[in-house]
């Protein structure tokens, strides 16, 4: 029985790949073929769906918009989370435990709850339909997560490291950037990965906070799907392209993910 245990993950991965295969297959079919009936693989291969996306600015700008605000969000989230996580792991201060739990509660706020007030708030501060606006809004759930992950990593670094550095005459900023950050760099990688991931996949806020200038690709898909009738091939091609950035990122951090969770306080 032990020798058959590899079957379980294998079947699971096959199950995971099935819908992805179907999406990829559909993206190479013509709309006529899709609506014409069932076929397991494209009878006539077409690259038209991809050609439309790469030549029409309203499509490919969606990708650029998404990548801009996701990157901004990752930088901002990890940037503000680093000192906070350091404080939570190193100092005791008034209300620290409550603060930590309060931060986590923001991860529990359904975006549907906040969608409407968010639009009004971001209109009021004139950040509606800007990349930085979406990036800031996504901080609602990414900053608590980044603090959580980084705090776990920092807790694993012995205090002696800090103390030795101070004895050696390091100032705090120099210690933090030269010694501390390199020590926890896999933690920074894991935190950045999760911020990227949750900002990339979130749509409700990104969609309601944008109109034209910063509209994410995933939202353009839904709009096109309804206005141009049922262009399933185009939709599938756009879907396939949204998987690629995530796949690239995950390939680079593959060795850190398991380790990150194991080391972190998570």
């Amino acid at each position: 029985m032990r020798y058959l245990s590899w079957l379980v993950p294998t079947f699971y991965i096959l199950f995971l790949l099935m819908p992805i295969y179907w999406l990829v297959a559909m993206s190479f079919k013509t709309t006529n073929e899709i609506l014409g009936g069932f076929s397991l693989y494209p009878q006539v291969w077409t690259f038209d769906n991809y050609a439309v996306i790469f030549t029409d600015p309203s499509w490919y700008w969606g990708y650029i918009n998404s990548i801009i605000y996701v990157s901004l969000n990752t930088v901002v989230s990890v940037g503000v989370a680093l000192p906070a996580a350091y404080a939570f792991s190193r100092y005791r201060f008034l209300g620290d435990k409550h603060l930590f739990f309060w931060l986590l509660t923001n991860r529990m706020a359904p975006p549907a709850v906040f969608a409407l007030p968010f639009v009004q708030l971001y209109y009021a501060v004139e950040l509606f339909d800007t990349h930085i606006g979406v990036a800031l809004a996504h901080c609602l759930f990414n900053v608590p997560l980044a603090v959580w992950i980084l705090e776990g990593f920092m807790r694993g670094v012995p205090r002696e490291l800090d103390e030795t550095a101070y004895i050696d005459g390091y100032s705090f900023p120099r210690f933090f950037t030269r010694i501390f950050l390199p020590t926890i760099r896999s933690g920074v990688g894991v935190a950045a990965f999760f911020c990227f991931m949750f900002s990339w996949v979130e749509l409700l806020l990104a969609k309601t906070l944008t109109k034209v200038a910063a509209k994410p690709i995933a939202a353009i898909m839904t709009k096109t799907a309804s206005s141009a009738g049922y262009e399933l091939g185009l939709l599938a091609a756009a879907g396939v392209l949204t998987i690629i950035p995530g796949a690239i990122v995950i390939y680079f951090v593959r060795n850190y993910i398991a380790k990150g969770f194991a080391l972190g306080r998570v």
């Binding site: 590899w6 379980v8 179907w22 999406l23 503000v80 404080a87 100092y91 620290d96």
Partner: protein
């Protein structure tokens, strides 16, 4: 040991400012709406707790809440055991581990509406791989018509989408167990079950707490995937809380009732998360 030093506040200040801007202001807006009646053109009247009373006595709300609890219950009951089982069956080390992890993490990185759209075209009875396949195998399947089929589809979609998170967490917990523990168990002649019960499960407790919390929160707040896949239909069969809320807030523009519902929804999420958290971390310190 951590040192008492109020300078900690200075380090936390940027996070506080950012999250307070994003969380407190919208939350206060919602609280504000929830106790007022609006007549368009920014005319508001104080209405006290009227919306809350109305909501808590409303059949529509009870039904949506019931469906939401059922969905989350099913999801937790399937994904947690399945995720742990898959993690246990994975090879501990070797060239296949990174391959497995990358492939398994793939669904986690797909935008949520693409997940919904993917499962829509997969399950469509005439042209989808799954829908066509089931019908060809003689099973009558149509998620746009039958509530049961719609539920099977949304549960399958969520299992597909999120089980990997449980696998990744459980696998991380498992790989933190030193080999010496397994050797000791082998010398004592422990059975596979007792290795799981007395070594692996306690060591995974921490990561499993996270898995339960994250899976609870995200399945309780699910909106985009289901709204793209079924739109809450057929009828109201898959109208979960958040879908109902968005219908109320953006569809009907009933600001007061929608705000009251938002608050009740948020409080339920908070309360249940807190319960899970206290129950699962009990007896730690």
């Amino acid at each position: 040991m951590r040192r008492t030093n109020q300078i900690g506040w200075l380090f936390v200040a940027p996070v506080l400012l950012l999250v307070a801007f994003n969380a407190l202001i919208p939350l206060m807006t919602v609280v504000n709406y929830s106790v007022q009646e609006s007549f368009g053109d920014n005319v508001f009247f104080w209405s006290g707790l009227q919306w809350f009373e109305q909501l808590l006595n409303e059949d529509r709300f009870h039904a949506a809440l019931g469906r939401q609890l059922m969905f989350t219950g099913i999801i937790l009951a399937i994904e947690l055991p399945l995720g742990v089982a898959i993690a246990l069956c994975m090879p501990k080390k070797g060239p296949f581990v990174p391959v497995c992890l990358v492939l398994m993490a793939l669904p986690l990185l797909i935008p949520w509406n693409v997940v919904g759209a993917m499962w829509n075209i997969l399950a469509l009875p005439e042209i989808g791989l799954l829908g066509y396949g089931l019908n060809a195998a003689g099973i009558d399947f149509n998620f746009t018509q039958s509530p049961v089929d719609a539920w099977i589809t949304i549960v399958a979609m969520d299992v597909w989408h999120w089980t990997s998170l449980v696998v990744l967490l459980a696998f991380a917990g498992l790989s933190a167990i030193p080999d010496a523990y397994y050797q000791a168990a082998r010398i004592d002649g422990a059975s596979r079950w007792s290795v799981f019960r007395h070594i692996e499960l306690p060591k995974m407790k921490r990561v499993l707490t996270i898995a339960v919390l994250l899976r609870f929160m995200d399945s309780f707040m699910i909106y985009t995937e289901i709204s793209v896949l079924t739109g809450g239909g057929p009828g109201n069969a898959t109208t979960l809380l958040s879908i109902d809320l968005v219908k109320k807030a953006l569809g009907q523009f009933d600001l007061g009732p929608a705000a009251a519902m938002s608050l009740v929804y948020f409080l339920i999420t908070l309360l249940v998360s807190w319960l899970f958290y206290t129950l699962m971390t009990r007896g730690e310190q």
